[in-house]
């Protein structure tokens, strides 16, 4: 262990640190301005104003109306409200269509709904993780209630052709939802141009706080709340609002809207530098995800003959934080469902490594990984029975 070495955080798709500007925005709402936004006194009304300002900032990021934004605890809750809420608010359509590589926060609510007579149809993806539009077309009929396809995948970063998917969904009278947890605040999201009916986002994926997220629901769309017991968020989400969290989310949206293009370019440059360096130093590796239709900060690749968790542990010893789709890191016996859906054999899925870059990474971070990773791979290959020199 290299004690005292600076930690290099390259797991920004898992979560991001709070931007200091976001933290400053949140700070007054813990103790100074601590009223309940539902109270009529000035302490409450100050908190109310913070929420409505955050709503305006969030709506501006997505290009929607302020009244189409509902604050939630994050992406998982927004996905749950969308899927269970739209399903249970009607009794005509029984089919939910989702891509095979959705986050569990989309797939699991769909599976839960089976016990209420709903059906989940999973749409396959190609080798790059792009949804197969022909399969989607075949799955759609007048029983289809909702199509849910993530804007970009958290593991491999592949960006989906959202406009084409929403168009197909609408041709059959289905709603279209996108889990934009990995893209909101990172690349442009325009709910009008992209034909999105509902969208989930999460503050902590783009330098906002954990525990604050939003759901966009186009005006007129019917959905039931999951949490009952108050008039909050226009009767869609009962419970006193997380004022500091929401204020922070709003600030994160504002920063993202102004800095996005420049930041995206800078991060892409770092990511490409990392991949070039790794490709030059390690043999028998393979990129996972779309070669160019991919989030600029995501680099996922498989290293033949070694297992992901062992690489992560050795990286961690060097103060480098990354992630993997190996079974050992998923908490189950199966490796990543995303990598398997893309057709990766099990051993390559176990040997996957994801570096996800963000706002606070530097060239020095990248160069350190390029310096350290090849010898980690060499060490592990030297003890691997699968590796023959």
């Amino acid at each position: 262990m290299k004690n005292g070495a600076r930690q290099i955080y390259l797991d920004n798709n898992a979560t991001t640190p709070v931007d200091p500007r976001v933290f400053e925005t949140m700070r007054p709402y813990f103790s100074e301005i601590a009223g309940n936004p539902s109270s009529i006194h000035s302490a409450g009304q100050q908190a109310r104003r913070a929420i409505e300002e955050a709503r305006a900032r969030t709506a501006a990021l997505l290009g929607c109306r302020v009244e189409e934004i509902y604050f939630t605890s994050g992406g998982t809750e927004s996905n749950n409200i969308t899927i269970k809420g739209t399903a249970l608010a009607q009794d005509k359509r029984k089919k939910i269509i989702a891509s095979a590589i959705e986050h569990h926060a989309v797939l699991e609510p769909c599976i839960y709904l089976r016990r209420f007579g709903f059906e989940l149809v999973k749409i396959p993806v190609d080798q790059h993780g792009t949804v197969d539009l022909d399969s989607l077309g075949r799955a759609l009929d007048d029983n289809a209630l909702l199509v849910s396809v993530m804007h970009a995948n958290n593991e491999v970063g592949t960006i989906q052709p959202i406009q084409e998917i929403s168009k197909l969904a609408h041709q059959h009278g289905a709603l279209f939802h996108t889990d934009a947890v990995q893209t909101a605040g990172k690349i442009p999201v325009d709910v009008q141009a992209m034909g999105i009916d509902m969208l989930s986002l999460s503050g902590h994926k783009f330098y906002g706080p954990k525990g604050a997220g939003a759901l966009f629901a186009r005006r007129g769309i019917r959905f039931d709340p999951l949490v009952h017991g108050g008039h909050h968020e226009r009767n869609k989400r009962a419970g006193t609002e997380n004022v500091p969290g929401i204020a922070g989310l709003g600030k994160a949206c504002e920063i993202a809207a102004s800095d996005m293009a420049e930041e995206e370019l800078r991060i892409r440059g770092l990511r490409d530098r990392l991949w070039q360096g790794i490709q030059g130093a390690i043999t028998e590796i393979r990129l996972n995800g779309h070669p160019d239709q991919r989030l600029s900060g995501t680099l996922n690749f498989s290293v033949r003959y070694v297992e992901g968790e062992s690489m992560l542990l050795k990286l961690d010893q060097e103060q480098i934080c990354a992630s993997s789709g190996s079974a050992c890191t998923s908490g189950s016996l199966e490796p990543s469902h995303v990598l398997l859906a893309m057709g990766l054999p099990h051993d390559l899925a176990h040997g996957s490594l994801r570096f996800s870059l963000g706002r606070f990474n530097t060239e020095a971070d990248i160069d350190r990984v390029i310096e350290v990773l090849p010898s980690i791979v060499d060490q592990l290959r030297a003890i691997s029975p699968l590796y023959k020199k």
């Binding site: 297992e307 968790e309 050992c328 890191t329 176990h350 003890i383």
Partner: protein, 146 residues
């Protein structure tokens, strides 16, 4: 994943890594599909024509797998080194986990197969030396890959 200091020590500095060119026995457990695979090589020192008294003179292993799998293989190799075959046959996977100051629950089954892999190597040795009678009593690996 919370690993004990002993696990991290054996993971970072695995003992007895490698292969033995003319091994007396070779045993493998696991497969790359499940994410953990280990192969052991042993040299056996015979004693009085009694396989029970024969000792593991040299042991080497190679592992593809997570931190726990590598640590388990390393620890199991240390524990088996110099022991008689009957002592190693009596060892259990729990002994290895115990010597490592425990393993996370998820790793107890999928990664903790060092002892079985060594027992597979002993089985291989006994079979090659014509002692099918003893070899057949060794359980070894549940899904041995040979």
């Amino acid at each position: 994943m919370q690993y004990s200091e002993k696990v991290m020590d054996h993971f970072m500095n695995p003992r007895n890594v490698g292969e033995i060119e003319k091994a007396d026995g070779v045993g493998t457990c696991g497969n790359p599909v499940c994410g953990d695979l280990m192969t052991f090589y042993i040299k056996v020192e015979p004693r009085n024509h009694d396989p029970h008294l024969a000792r593991i003179a040299e042991i080497r292993f190679k592992t593809f797998g997570c931190g726990a799998a590598i640590a388990v293989a390393s620890m199991a190799s240390e524990m088996a080194q110099g022991k008689t075959l009957s002592e190693v046959i009596a060892m259990s996977r729990d002994d290895v986990a115990c010597q490592l100051d425990g393993l996370p629950p998820a790793k107890m089954h999928c990664s903790n197969m060092g002892v079985q892999a060594i027992q597979e190597a002993i089985k291989d040795y006994l079979t090659k030396t014509g002692r099918h009678d003893i070899a057949s009593t060794i359980k070894g690996c549940p899904r041995a890959v040979h």
